[in-house]
Every structure is written in C-alpha cells, then in structure tokens.
Amino acid sequence: MPSNLTRRRFGLVAGSLFAWGSQPRLSRATTRDPRFLVVLLRGGVDGLGVVAPIGDPDWASLRGDRGLSLDGSHPAMRLDPMFAINSAMPHFARFFSDRQLLIAHALATPYRERSHFDAQDVLESGMPTAGVRDSGWLNRALTALAPGDQVATLSRELLTIGPVPPLIVRGAAPIISWAPTRLPAASDDTLMRVLGMYQHTDPVLARTVARRADLIQIAKTGVSPADQTAAAATGENSRLGQHFRNQFQEALTNAARFMSQPSGPRIGAITLDGWDTHADEGALSGRLSIMLDALDGAMAGFAKGMQNAWSDTVVAIVTEFGRTVRINGTHGTDHGLATVAFLLGGAVNGGRMMADWPGLRPADLHEGRELRSTLDLRSLMKGVLAEHLHIDPARIDQTVFPQSGEAPMIRGLVR
C-alpha cells in the first residue's frame, strides 16, 4: 500500500480520507429533476475480480494468473495508481474518465455472516441485522422525501422491473412494476444447481435435465473452461453471454424507458441474479467477465435511454457481500465480506475511487480469508439520499437507516 496514505479507522473524520480528486462543490440544484435507481447484484460479487488493487504489492501473488493485472491476455484498465477495472467493462472505464462514475471499495453492509438470504435482507432492509423484512430502505426513503419538494411531487411510486418486487422497494409507499409478459426461462445458474442436485439424488433425472441444456457436451469437455477446446468454450460462453446480455439489457432498457418519461417514476430498483461464482469464476475470460460485459453494455444502454435525464441521474450498483481473496479448489471464490459498489450517473461527482484500503497481507484480512471492510454501504447511500434527493439527514438516520450511528453520511457524492 502506498506509504503516503495511512490507514485509519473509518468514522473519525468523514470525507478527509478521500483526497484524490478536487474538493467537490456542494450544490443544491433546485431546478434538478433527480432520478435514482438501485441495481442489486444478487449472489455476492467478487469485488476484487471487478476492480483489482493492482497497486497493492500483495495482490499479484494472491490470485496468480486468475487475478486482474495490467499485463496478460486481458489487461485491466487502470483507474488510478492503485486500482484497475476488469477489461470487460470499457463503458465503465469511459464513465470513470468522464467523471460520471465513482467506485467505492472495501465496502460492506453491517452484516458479518455468510448467508445470501440474510445478507440480502440487510442490504435491502437498511437494518443493521437480518430478520427484519417488513420494508426496504428505498421505500422508506420515498416516504421521507420532503413534502412539497419537487422530488416528492414527481416521485409518486417506486419502480421495479420483474415479477417480484424486491424487499428494498417494499413498504408503505406504492410500487409500480413492469414485467415481461412471456414466461422467463430459468437461468443457467439455476439449471446447473438443479443438475448438481440430481447427480447425487436421481441420476435418471440428471440425464434428462442435462439433455435439455446440452450440458452433456460440457460434461464431456471437462469442468474447467481451461480444459475445453477454444471452440467449445467460445460456443458455451457466447451462449451464456447472449443470455446475460439479453436479461440485463431487457431490465435496464425498460427501466430507462419509464424513468426518462416526464410523468414516469423517478426512483426504483432492479435485481440482476447470477453473481455467486463458487466455481470457475472466470474473472478474465469466463463467467464473471461475461456477466460484467453484459452489465457494462446494459448500463451504457441505460444511460443512452435516459437521454436528457441522465444528467439528473444516480445509479447505485450494490451487492450483498464480497468473496474470498484466494481462489478455491474449483477455480472460484466463496462468500466473503468487503467488495465494490458503484455510483454511476450524470449527477455523480465521479472520476475517483473511494477506498480506505485495508491491505491484503494475512494479518490485514477478515478472518484470514476476506477483504476487511473499511466503509459502510449505508454511509454512501445516505449521501445520495441527502444530496441528490434532498431528504433531511435527521430523517434519514431516524427512519431510512435506523441504528446507523456507526455509518456517518458521506458528502459530496453528487454534483
């Protein structure tokens, strides 16, 4: 870690740690018509596989040739002296250089266990612990909008895409949802899990289901993508890519369609599944890179679809937890703690990393296996709610993110 930066426990002085860019001007844009979209990446995204600390001397040895680097066949794109972003995300790199993307790292919710369901509950409920499922923080934010404020008048309902409103949008405030009319096909990930289940419990069913997905081909060519012939790998990967590109594009194109309308919803959330990369994570050229490519393209499409409203937009892209720093025995990673989050949009005061880097030496890690958290996600969200949506900070602490004293608001996130 660069020697001129000292690690400090977050919470002492908010804001002073982040000295990269110039001091942002705090502006209250009274003519602004703000949009806020939360994109929930379900499964626990491997933050280190998306944005890697290439400037950390302990990084290269941790993941060897499965880790992002500035060299090699899929060179990561440098963001600053410390970090580089996955080569599958050229649009994000451009947003970063256009100062419309802010990337937070070593960030986590208050949740410290490893269950997807509970972690997602904490991520979406805005509560410090799991088990509280009656409303989501975005819904409570809607009701906390200053009455009479332009934002409140225009933001009557929460938008959600897909047939099942996620917890984050549920609560007292109304929801408006849109879902594709055709029957959605099951994701590849779900299919693989079912197949795995059958291989131990009912081989006859396993054969049948495998036929449906042409997975016998994959089984014959071996589990690891590295063992497949390039052609087979390309075939399978391109099918996977097609699947994710379609899915992500559909969700985000439609979100933009609604949110850019003068009379459309202003605030919403969508979920994108499939990020639980326990095996064959493929950050460089496999599954993760394919999904990041799909996300990258879909967000570019969203920005385009928002048209003039893009300059008033903030998108928060978040996930429930990160993953282990080391690769496991099946070329993947297991559930971890700290990870990345993105704030993307024309209204974002971007072009910078926000990270109090905890380091990657064994002693620096959480429970010896995961990136330690030095930033609470709620701090980031509070900043957006206060300065982009003009919600009273006292109300945020009281109703939107109760019991969040350990997560002070971060200012200056928005232009």
């Binding site: 379900r42 499964g43 626990g44 997807h116 369901f117 997602q120 499922r133 047939p163 099942v164 917890l167 549920r170 009319t181 055709r182 029957l183 959605p184 096909a185 099951a186 990930d189 779900t190 299919l191 899990r193 079912v194 795995g196 289940m197 059958y198 131990h200 419990t201 009912d202 006859v204 069913l205 049948t208 289901v209 036929r211 449906r212 997905a213 979920t271 599944d273 499939g274 990020w275 639980d276």
Partner: protein, 461 residues
C-alpha cells in the same frame, strides 16, 4: 411426530393424495387411516355457476362464434405442435370469451379449487384417475368435458364400477367423443332407409380400454356385437328446439333390432336395457377385474407393481362387484403400496398441485391450465381415448420444462415463505441431504424455492 411416522405420513400424502397443504398439521397415529379418511369426506355441492351438460351444450351452440373459434383453435393447435423448444405464450387459447370457453374455465376453476383445498386429496386423485381411464377430449366437446368429469366420474369414485361405466357411456360427451351418435344398426330403421351403418369406435374402446383390456381375447365379432347393442345410444341434436337438446337419448330408429351375442352371452332385452345389461356383464368379467387392478396399481404405486398387490385388487374387484370404495381401501391398506422406493414420476397436473399446496399459493386457473399444457398434460385434452400415459418414462422428458414453471411459481410465492420450512413441511424426512444442501446454498430466496420445487423427491411419489 416421530420421524418414521412423519415419513410414512408424507409418503402417503404424496402417493395417494395431492401432497401436504402448507397450512395443515398432519398429526396422526396411522397414516393409512389418515389417507382412507378422505373417502368419507363429503364434497360440497358444485358451485352454482356450473351447468349441467345439457344446458352447457345448448348454451354453447347458441353462440355461433364457437364454430369459427373452433376452426381457429384447430389451426393454432397445428401451429403450436411445430414448436420444438419455444415457450408458449401465457395468453389464452383462441376460444377465449366464447360461452364454451367460459364454461370450461368455470369447470376448471372449480376442479382446481377442490384440489388445492382438499386436506388429503385422495378423492381428487381418484377422480383424476378415473377421468383419465374414461377420458374424453375437450377439443371435440369443449362445453362438456368438465361436466362429464363432474357428472359421470366424480359421484362414482367411491361407488360401483358398473354404475360409473353406465353413466360414462351414456354421457353426451362420451357419445360425441367416440362418434356413437350417428351409429346405426344395419337393419335399423335409419340404417335401412338412409343406408347408414355402424360406427364401432365406442364399442371397441369400451372393450379395449374401459373394461376387458386389449389382451382379454375378445374378437372382431364381439366388437360388432357390442356396437349393435349400443346403436341408438345417441344425443338429441343440439340444433333441435326441444328442452332436451344436447342430452342423451335412446333412439329406436338407430338401434339394431334383435338379440346379439357378446363374449358368448346372449342379450335380447328391449331398448336401452340391452345395452345396460351388456355393460354390466362387461363390468363383471374377470378380465375387467384384472385390467382395472393392473391400471389402478400402476397409477398409484409403480409401473411394475407387485403381483400380490394386483391379484389382491383383482380378487376384491371380482368379489365385491366392482365396489371402488373397497378397491381403494385394499390399495391403501396393502403393505406393497407403501414401498419406500418412489419410482413413479408425478404427472404435471399432480406436480403443480403438490407445489401450490406446499407453498400455499393459488396461481390462478389460467396459469395452471397454461402450465399443464406447457408440460404436456393439457387438462381434458388427452392425446387419444387411452388417455394420458401412466408410465413414468413418458413424463421423464418433460422434467426440464418444469424448471421454467418452478421459476414462475417461486416468483409468485409470498416473501415470507422460507424454503427450509417449506421443505420440511412438504418433504420432511423424505428430502435427501444433497437436496437440502442445494436448497440451502441457493443464491437468493427465489432460487431456493425453485430448487425445492425441482427436487427429485417432489417429482417422484
């Protein structure tokens, strides 16, 4: 409840019923009694909106749209048959809105409501079994398929086989489905004057499918004899302006006069009685007893049922004159019917009910009808008079398709449902460790429910 008792109870609910309901506690000390108790349960009267088959026929005919819609539907059927792997649209069939479609929808509504509400579901399973044994196809008689099951099958599932047989063969839906309405004895009044002849379809299927079974050794002469015996069993044309249009009637002008010999027995009664007597004789044949016993065991227990079980069922059928209440009791009381190995693949309709009951959701009739169709078991539309196949291999291929339905069902489940709790309620000790693990390791709540609904233990019973 101790684990072994719980396992037996769940095994029984899945094998003989429609799977446990999420909101019921099945506390009991004897799983067999729990299952058999369902036979005593009285059914509520039909929903007032349901129409008698005669009324249904007349109403459907009155709407001329039905005829045009019929053509469109046939066309769409041919088109959808060409799709290999596409997912059919959720939108309803061509007939939507016509009286016949509405009648069918009402009937389906009621049927699904009963199935979802039944505490155990043995009665429903019996209705579905016999309805498949004596099947008709709603594509031919859309207004009548639901009424047929309700009028000719349901009242008899714990009654006498011979009574069910008689009601079925006299039902307008069956007469129309197997083309008996214009069958005329060669020497009947109409046969002679209009040069019309016998249609053997219904007679053949009575012998081959409904009673004796194809290996019983009846001859072509027997088929013809039976066709003559039931000639005149017809339906008053629905166009006629009589209050009984569309209902069963015995038309002497179509009936072949004189006595007939069927399976070595002579039938010379007058009018309708001749056919009734023949049907009862068929019901009493030992071949019928064996045929029914094999099918019964095959449907509920295993494709290759223990010979002892089949023999016991056949003997009971013979000795008790086709008392189906007794037959069911013998089935549920037989140790062979409780084997722990669960080989039978649940048919799509049964699987859907188990899922919905287990999760406590009602996705609506439209969804259930579309899903059944998508999974290859469209309600009341069997591929032929022999009904939907009852052997497991036929339903194996469609398991992959069920994944898409499972995704939709898990999307509909209320967020408060916990997959672990649901798994314990639906499968309990029947769930294998790898299944539990797969459910627990899911990436999201919804995925955990999808994986649960796709558990092998839920596809088999």
């Amino acid at each position: 409840m101790d684990s072994h008792l719980e396992e037996e109870t769940l095994l029984g609910l899945h094998r003989f019923g429609l799977g446990p309901r999420s909101d019921l506690q099945y506390e009991n000390s004897d799983p067999k009694e729990l299952i058999l108790g369902d036979l005593q349960r009285l059914q509520g009267p039909p929903a007032p909106a349901l129409k008698d088959s005669g009324v249904a026929s007349r109403e459907a005919f009155a709407n001329r749209q039905d005829r045009r819609a019929e053509q469109k539907r046939q066309r769409e059927l041919r088109l959808s048959g060409l799709k290999q792997d596409g997912i059919p649209p959720i939108a309803s069939t061509a007939m939507a809105g016509t009286p016949a479609a509405l009648i069918l929808q009402d009937e389906a509504d009621w049927r699904y409501d009963l199935a979802l509400a039944a505490p155990v579901g043995l009665q429903e399973r019996l209705v579905w079994f016999w309805s498949n044994h004596f099947c008709v196809n709603s594509l031919k008689t859309p207004a009548l398929a639901g009424a047929f099951e309700r009028e000719a099958i349901r009242p008899f599932v714990a009654g006498r086989f011979g009574d069910m047989l008689s009601a079925v063969i006299k039902h307008p839906a069956m007469i129309a489905y197997l083309d008996n309405q214009r069958s005329a004895g060669p020497n009947s009044e109409t046969g002679l004057s209009r040069n019309r002849g016998l249609n053997e379809n219904l007679a053949r299927e009575i012998l081959e499918l409904h009673t004796l079974g194809v290996e019983a050794g009846y001859t072509q002469a027997d088929v013809t004899a039976l066709a003559k015996i039931i000639s005149g069993w017809t339906v008053i044309p629905v166009q006629e302006t009589t209050p009984l249009a569309g209902e069963f009637s015995f038309d002497r002008r179509l009936h072949e006069p004189g006595s007939q010999t069927l399976l070595g027995m002579k039938f010379d009664q007058e009018g309708l009685d001749k056919g009734e007597a023949a049907l009862q004789a068929l019901a009493r044949s030992p071949s019928t007893a064996s045929h029914i016993a094999r099918k019964f065991a095959r449907h509920f227990v295993s494709d290759e049922s223990a010979p002892a079980l089949v023999d016991r069922l056949a003997a009971n059928f013979r000795d008790r004159d086709g008392d189906l209440n007794e037959l069911t009791k013998v089935l549920v009381s037989s140790p062979e019917a409780w084997l722990s190995r669960r080989d039978k693949i649940r048919r799509p309709g049964e699987w859907l009910m188990a899922c919905c009951r287990g999760l406590g959701i009602n996705p609506g009739t439209r969804f259930l009808l579309d899903s059944q169709k998508f999974l290859g078991e469209p309600l009341w539309q069997p591929p032929g008079p022999n009904g939907f196949s009852d052997d497991s291999t036929s339903w194996l291929e469609g398991i992959g398709q069920r994944l898409d339905v499972a995704v939709r069902l898990s999307q509909m489940a209320p967020v408060s449902i916990d997959a672990d709790a649901a798994m314990n309620a639906i499968l309990g000790p029947l769930a294998r460790p790898e299944t539990r693990q797969a459910v627990e390791r899911a990436e999201s709540r919804m995925q955990s429910l999808t994986i649960l609904l796709m558990a092998a233990e839920l596809h088999r019973r």
